[in-house]
Amino acid sequence: MGMPISHIMTSGMSGIRAAGDLVARMQLSKSMRVGEAKDYVAKKLDVTTDDLSDEYVMRELREDLGIGVITSVAGAPKGIAAKMNIEKLLDLNINCCDKFRKQIA
């Protein structure tokens, strides 16, 4: 259990503490190398690539954009709601959001 946490602390992008989930999503959806994925996400967020791992920058930005924050914020978009905002931000479709839309259509 400590091993994955060690990797996260040593090399990881901190997930939704910062913007690690967004960079990972571009790698997984578009096969982007890490540099390309960081450039893409940074441009969409209008921040530098260094900011993508900076909790200070990303905490408030994530809350403003409604793309999910790591702390419990009442009323803030979570789960599929947050991912629907990520779809718009990153200009891609997310499978569970498509399924959700079909269910409420």
């Binding site: 259990m1 400590g2 060690s6 996260i8 990881g12 989930d21 990972a24 790698q27 499978n95």
Partner: protein, 354 residues
């Protein structure tokens, strides 16, 4: 003479001088270069590895700005799993485990897997897997894959319908052994596709193939064909394919994909085929030798992975679990060894993720 604290491949503390560290790094590097017919590391890269291994801090980290996304094999099962492996046995649902990774640990991605963690045993409980995926997707923000091992060995007797190739080969029935592997591969491909059809219908972001090739080249053959079929059926599916070992074992010996014989492929040669099949992310592996030092193992692993990253058309998330990627082979790899190997892979091998 100053001695530095390092680890053996089994995790035991050892003390080495700088000269001994350099010698082991170069020996490990030379082993990889020889086996894979790939270039050595440069002197600057060796110096950097020495710096990383001799840093006095217990834990080290990558330079700011060099962080990479981390994907996970086994994922949420490491919270509630308790099978004498890496699971810590905390009674909890898989949803709780996934959310703990996302919100407590800062995981960039997560995966959902069956407790037996192979595709085949997920078949009888697929409705349960689908419902769990739906509930997880409703609550999660990070990409959430369905993860499982192809594990073609489950298709051989006594666990499966096809005669065990190991038994057949012992009786010198080589053709029959190969046929058994081919039949097993067909069934494995079919099962993976069927399971992922169900998981994609439940909102999964995609699939993580964990330990491709564990049962040899037939296992990789089946996995590549499953990847190819899934890519055709679901153009937007996220596919990560991580290997079981550094060398593709030729249990069959004659299986090919895209005109390339699978047996005997090293990580940098596996990458192109995984990409050709349609995966988004490749997970190369280098095995840890428990009888060698961390310096030897890391020199060897970084040499192999650097070439895999260079040759791969898709992002490489190097496998760095227990006993691979320069990580010691024990259930609780020491933080000093994990963080050093992690930093070296990012800063020297240039991986896209871990």
């Amino acid at each position: 003479m100053t001695e530095y604290k390092l680890r053996m491949g089994d995790g035991k503390r050892i003390f080495m001088t700088k000269e001994q560290i350099i010698a082991d790094l170069k020996e490990g590097m030379a082993d990889a270069a020889d086996l894979g017919s790939i270039p050595d590391l440069s002197e600057d890269e060796i110096d950097k590895l020495v710096d990383i291994l001799t840093m006095p801090s217990r834990m080290v980290g990558v330079e700011q700005g060099m962080e990479v996304p981390v994907t996970h094999d086994i994922g949420t099962i490491r919270i509630d799993g308790d099978q004498g492996n890496s699971g810590v046995g905390i009674p909890s649902s898989r949803l709780v485990g996934a959310m703990m990774h996302e919100r407590a640990f800062g995981a960039d991605t997560m995966e959902l897997g069956h407790i037996d963690y192979s595709f085949k045993p997920a078949k009888p409980v697929i409705a349960q897997e689908m419902q769990t995926m739906e509930v997880c997707q409703q609550n999660m923000v990070v990409p959430l894959l369905y993860g499982a091992m192809p594990n073609m060995g489950l298709y051989y007797t006594p666990d499966g319908p096809f005669e065990n190739p190991g038994d057949l080969m012992k009786a010198f029935k080589i053709d029959e052994a190969r046929q058994s592997m081919e039949h097993s591969a067909e069934h494995l491909t079919r099962d993976i596709i069927w399971i992922m059809q169900k998981m994609m219908a439940s909102g999964s972001d995609g699939v993580n193939f964990d330990t491709v090739g564990a049962a040899g080249d037939g296992d990789m053959f089946a996995s590549l064909h499953a990847i190819e079929a899934l890519r055709k059926q679901f153009p937007d599916i996220y596919i990560e394919a991580g290997m079981a070992g550094e060398l593709m074992l030729g249990m069959h010996g004659e299986l090919e994909y895209d005109g390339v014989t699978l047996a005997g492929l090293w990580p940098h040669e596996q990458a192109a085929l995984v990409a050709k099949a349609g995966a988004n992310v490749f997970g190369p592996v280098v095995n840890t030798n428990t009888s060698k030092s961390a310096a030897w193992n890391l020199g060897r692993a970084v040499t192999f992975i650097k070439q895999a990253v260079k040759d791969s058309p898709i992002p490489c998330h190097v496998n760095m679990g227990m006993g691979v990627g320069g990580i010691p082979m024990l259930e609780t790899p020491t933080i000093d060894a994990v963080s050093r190997a992690s930093k070296a892979m990012v800063e020297i091998a240039g991986v896209d993720g871990i």
